[in-house]
Amino acid sequence: MARIELKDVVKRYGSVEVLRDIDLDIEDGEFIVLVGPSGCGKSTLLRMIAGLEPITSGDFLIDGERMNDVRPRDRDIAMVFQSYALYPHMDVARNMGFSMEIRKDPSNERMSRVKQAAETLGLTSLTERLPKALSGGQRQRVAMGRAIIRDPRAFLFDEPLSNLDASLRVEMRLEIARLHQKLGATMIYVTHDQVEALTLADRIVVLNGGDIQQVGSPLDLYERPANKFVAQFIGSPTMNIIPVQGNSNGVKLADGTLLELPHLFGTIDAVELGMRPEHIDVVEVGDLVGVADVVEHLGSDTNLYLQVEGLGPLMVREHGNIPVQPGDRVGLRIQSENIHLFGPDGNALRCPTKEAAA
């Protein structure tokens, strides 16, 4: 159990700064997901927490104690690697019990912990196999077993599911969620997959280019993205963003349409408008008219890729199965209470709402 704090943490390789001013306060028992595009520094941050990578400057604390220069073995943190990193010359049982073997724990205790972990992860019949005789999913389980065998203060996962096929990934994701509920331990999980982030996290940390873009709960990030990057990174399908001109009672779209935003208060100096595909409705007569380019019928939803004259492409997701064919003209209504506005710097505008002002 541990509270983990990062204060002004910086990482440089030579003169290249890969992480800047990382400030993060992770509560005891929290499930934190670090998410961001490839190369944004997620693994580097995780490895600094693990102690595998020196911290260039700043402070790293576990339970209030500065840990910058403490060796990995003395941090009492377990890590699951993307490659699983199972010891090829040891069987499953020894792989899982290795940390206890190193700590010279009594062997009967070790056996019983290994047995227990093997049961939890459904590996009981495989304990005598070598890693090379296991499937990808089984190796993944062994890697998890190796982490849970001792009660570490925190768990680190570096893209643990990225080498699995889609169905197995969903299954293991649930398993990890269950594990977190059962152990209640602090977990830090790295992924570039926003679905994993949204489903697992208590709080998500969005990284881009070495900077923290936003920290918040999955719903926070979905409903109130701090900037354009987060808005487009979180949520699937991706948010539509189009240029607008702000004025006193709404925004003017590029085709001249005025979108009234009666719930907002004061002058709106937005330059871009963000709309999630699920927040645009298909109606008889709406704000806009689009021509369907491609229509995807998913059963539960229908994805429409539309061209709007004067505006360009828009994507719309409609609940259920709607009878639109490619080439059809459809009316669109924007849910004005669910739109996002961005200023010239790409940051989200937080306009005061009328209720808040009242």
Binding site: A50, G51, L52, R71, P72, R73, I77, A78, M79, F81, S83, Y84, A85, L86, Y87, P88, H89, F98, S99, I102, R103, L130, P131, K132, R139, R146
Partner: protein, 279 residues
């Protein structure tokens, strides 16, 4: 259908090619053995026949009990084992450092090691002789071990480095997360996985030292310190060459190399398959 018919032909062709290659490669060894067991008086009369009309083990008996062969053999064993052990130990350490750490001068050291491999040995024989002589180490087996070790280290280091490179860094890091110090991770995780590499390096260096003639000839002149390749030359007397005994000695000299490779081959085979494990 056509493929089913051509398959046996293909198989036959494959085996014929293998057979051809094997007989080409093994023929000199066969000849060595044949002459070693041919009685002396038949060597010149039946020298070119594939199989002599009568066989004898006299040559082996003479070589073993009436010449200094056993002493040469012992010297060679001592020098080769010593060289193999010293070289492998140093090369393993250096190879690990090259594979895992970044340090100042790394590139320069690697370049220097490569350059040493480019000189023909003949060029440096005289200076080496002077150095060894001024150290008073002529006619000592230790000098041979030192010289051989020095010459084998660069290649052995590159060999070991490539084996270490083949072991994912994640494994050490996982071991360190599991509570190992770097040294423990090396001993418990990396070392067992490098056994094939160590075996290959030992075998390579052993064989190189076992058959080395040039330095042994220059640095050793006393009979009791001669290694086997030098000793073999004593079978060439001023007036004749004792072919039978020379070949018998050659056959005996093959034994340690064969034993050594039988001993390490399971590690070599393991090495070929362990790449499939990765993580």
């Amino acid at each position: 259908m056509a493929t089913a018919q051509s398959r046996p032909l293909l198989t036959i062709g494959k085996y014929a090619a293998l057979l051809g290659y094997l007989s080409f490669a093994l023929f000199p060894l066969y000849w060595l053995l044949k002459i070693a067991i041919t009685p002396d008086q038949l060597i010149f009369s039946e020298g070119t026949q594939l199989w002599p009309s009568s066989l004898t083990l006299d040559n082996f008996r003479t070589v073993l009990f009436q010449t200094d062969f056993l002493a040469y053999f012992g010297n060679s064993l001592y020098v080769s084992l010593g060289t193999a052990a010293a070289t492998t130990l140093i090369a393993a350490g250096a190879g690990y450092a090259f594979s895992r750490f970044d340090f100042g001068g790394k590139r320069i050291i690697i370049a220097a090691m490569l350059i040493t491999q480019m000189f023909p040995l003949l060029m440096i024989i005289a200076p080496i002789y002077k150095i060894v002589a001024s150290l008073g180490m002529l006619n000592s087996l230790t000098s041979l071990i030192v010289v051989y070790t020095a010459f084998n280290i660069p290649f052995a280091t590159f060999l070991m480095q490539s084996f270490f490179d083949g072991i994912p860094k994640d494994l050490e890091e996982a071991a360190m997360m599991d509570g190992c110090s770097r040294f423990q991770a090396l001993r418990k995780v990396i070392f067992p996985l490098t056994l094939p590499g160590l075996g290959a390096t030992l075998g390579f260096v052993f064989t190189a030292a076992w058959s080395e003639l040039l330095f042994a000839l220059m640095l050793i002149s006393k009979n009791e310190a001669m290694t086997f390749p030098v000793g073999l030359l004593t079978f060439v007397s001023k007036f004749s060459v004792d072919w039978g005994q020379m070949m018998a000695a050659g056959v005996l000299a093959l034994i340690p190399s064969c034993l050594f490779f039988i001993f390490i081959q399971r590690y070599l085979v393991q090495g070929l398959t362990s790449g499939a494990v990765k993580g």
